[in-house]
Symmetry: C2
């Protein structure tokens, strides 16, 4: 029998289509293959083809020279800009304002052919440190309300360049979906005096069926009301509302966890395209008892069709319990 499941944070119902449960081999999907060969503005030696770097971790060389292992640059075609003012305007029933914000690109490696899953643990950790360093810097601009750190891997996940990179967008407003999550978590806290995510961590460890991986600092699960087949959440065991407060030991552990998770996905789903997003509290807010930062990751196996777009309602053909089992059994942990 197909089943409705309710996400305990947002209240979103999803349909888990248990009757036609799909196994990893049932999905026809893009296999992400790095072709290389063409001209790449992200490769070492082409530093002058990008805007000047904002941050780099390097072993040699000066700014905008080769020798870096990670490089952060403004997006060459930014959707938002730091300069200017909002110039908020009404126009009858409508409201508009200038596109103030920031849009940065984290080039994760000088090696054009390496994916994030291929990088050594220390290099994966550097990506998270770069997110953190940029967040700490960008939040000084008090206009920036939300910092969205995410990665699109593979063309079908929205990556327009194949050289491995992540993105950071600074927004002067808090997005609706983020607000919804914050409000859901707040309502639960008001009712129970406990963090909903802390409760999820406890319950998932007890149940076990949706657990992919456990370490001293993180729990990886396929969430109960997963929207997408093989959707994964990486939850810190210790309560923190803000990602940028992560301490060095947890950051190192996170890199290990992310690397293992990506390698499991590559093995089980044959190098799928994927997106991940760091869900974290708004940067200008004080630490929150009710919100708990985490990472949501989903391979791109299904198309988002009219139904999902019109309703925010998802049909997931693979129960998270089965997805978790495939990923657990893939090893590499």
């Amino acid at each position: 029998m197909p089943e409705f499941r309710k996400d305990p944070v947002t209240g979103r119902w999803v349909i888990i289509a248990t009757d036609r449960a799909r196994r990893p081999s049932d999905f026809s999907r893009e296999q992400v293959v790095i072709k290389g060969g063409g001209y790449c503005p992200f490769c070492p030696g082409h530093e002058e083809k990008t805007p000047p770097e904002i941050l780099a971790y390097r072993q040699s060389g000066g700014p905008n020279e080769p020798g870096w292992t990670l490089r952060v640059i403004p997006n060459k075609f930014p959707v938002l800009r730091v300069e200017g003012d909002f110039n908020r305007q009404g126009e009858g029933v409508y409201d508009r304002m200038n596109g103030i914000g920031a849009h940065e690109v984290i080039i994760e490696t000088p090696d054009h052919n390496a994916t994030l899953a291929d990088l050594p643990e220390k290099r994966v950790e550097d990506v998270f440190w770069a997110f953190r360093d940029r967040i700490v810097d960008l939040k000084k601009d008090r206009r920036m309300q939300y910092l969205l750190a995410f990665k699109n891997h593979g063309e079908s996940a929205g990556a327009s360049l194949e050289h491995s990179h992540s993105q950071l967008i600074a927004l002067p407003v808090i997005p609706r979906r983020v607000q919804e999550e914050l409000e859901g978590a707040r309502r639960y806290f008001e009712f129970k005096d406990r963090c909903i995510f802390c409760d999820i961590v406890r319950q998932e460890v007890d149940t076990g069926t949706r657990v992919v991986l456990e370490t001293q600092a993180f729990l990886v699960i396929c969430p109960f009301a997963a929207r997408f087949p093989f959707e994964l959440w990486i939850l810190p065991r210790r309560h923190h509302s803000h990602f940028e407060e992560t301490d060095p030991a947890a950051m190192a552990n996170l890199a290990w966890v992310m690397r293992v998770v990506l390698r499991k996905l590559d093995r089980v789903l044959e190098k799928p395209a994927y997106n991940f997003i760091i869900h974290t509290a708004p940067v200008q807010e004080a630490p929150m008892d009710h919100y708990h930062w985490h990472i949501e990751l989903a391979p791109r196996l299904t198309r988002i069709a009219g139904f999902e777009w019109g309703t925010g309602f998802y049909i997931n053909p693979t129960p998270p319990e089965e997805a978790a089992r495939f990923l657990r059994e893939a090893g590499l942990g």
Copy 2:
């Protein structure tokens, strides 16, 4: 300068990337080409390959025989079923219930090679009558809270069979995105004592820059805070909260409008994949002064990437004013 725009109904902000405005030719996209040739369970003569029909409009023949011009069948692989009870259960922080509902397919034409845009006006009208007839029947089951009528056209829009069809899903819950729209419209009504959609119709007719088409009964616009390039809304000029209350004259006009809109899209964007969804009030509710049914339609030109998925925040590279101009100038009206 890129611009933030706020949708007046839902409060959703979008970024309109005015600086790198994309013209129709700038998108690389699926051109929907009907290949035909293979075996098709929706073609006349194959009626026994589908579940028995629920409704058919026919010129000859008996039930489940050729001679129909439109046929409604239960989805062979339904995500929801009418039989059974909810059996609502809690499991710690989680909630689940059985997948009660309905999932029907409207086969729009016996002609495998015709798209909805190719059909005669009367056949397009029949599709809307079929939606209406099925809604009126399904709402008798008081468990069904929301009826979602939609169409996925083309593989990249989620259509799994190429023979032209639409879908109807009956849900025992009101989806989050629908609730959000209803609540936004209610808030506006409480504040202004007017329907937000009626105000949008008035303002768009006055402004003119986002208008694609005007008829006696409908207004077609590219909405101010469009999420997608060439997104279109078809708004009835007269206030009605429920699509199923549409009278015969308006229904005939709607068919004419939809056919022209689809032909404009086919001309300007070279037969793009698209989705449309009928946004209508929950079926068990009385007529509402604050909500106004309408159709939202979007061609599939951009990929939904991590940013959009994580935030409900959209970046639209084509200002709606430019999209509307291209569509206005395409003629066929």
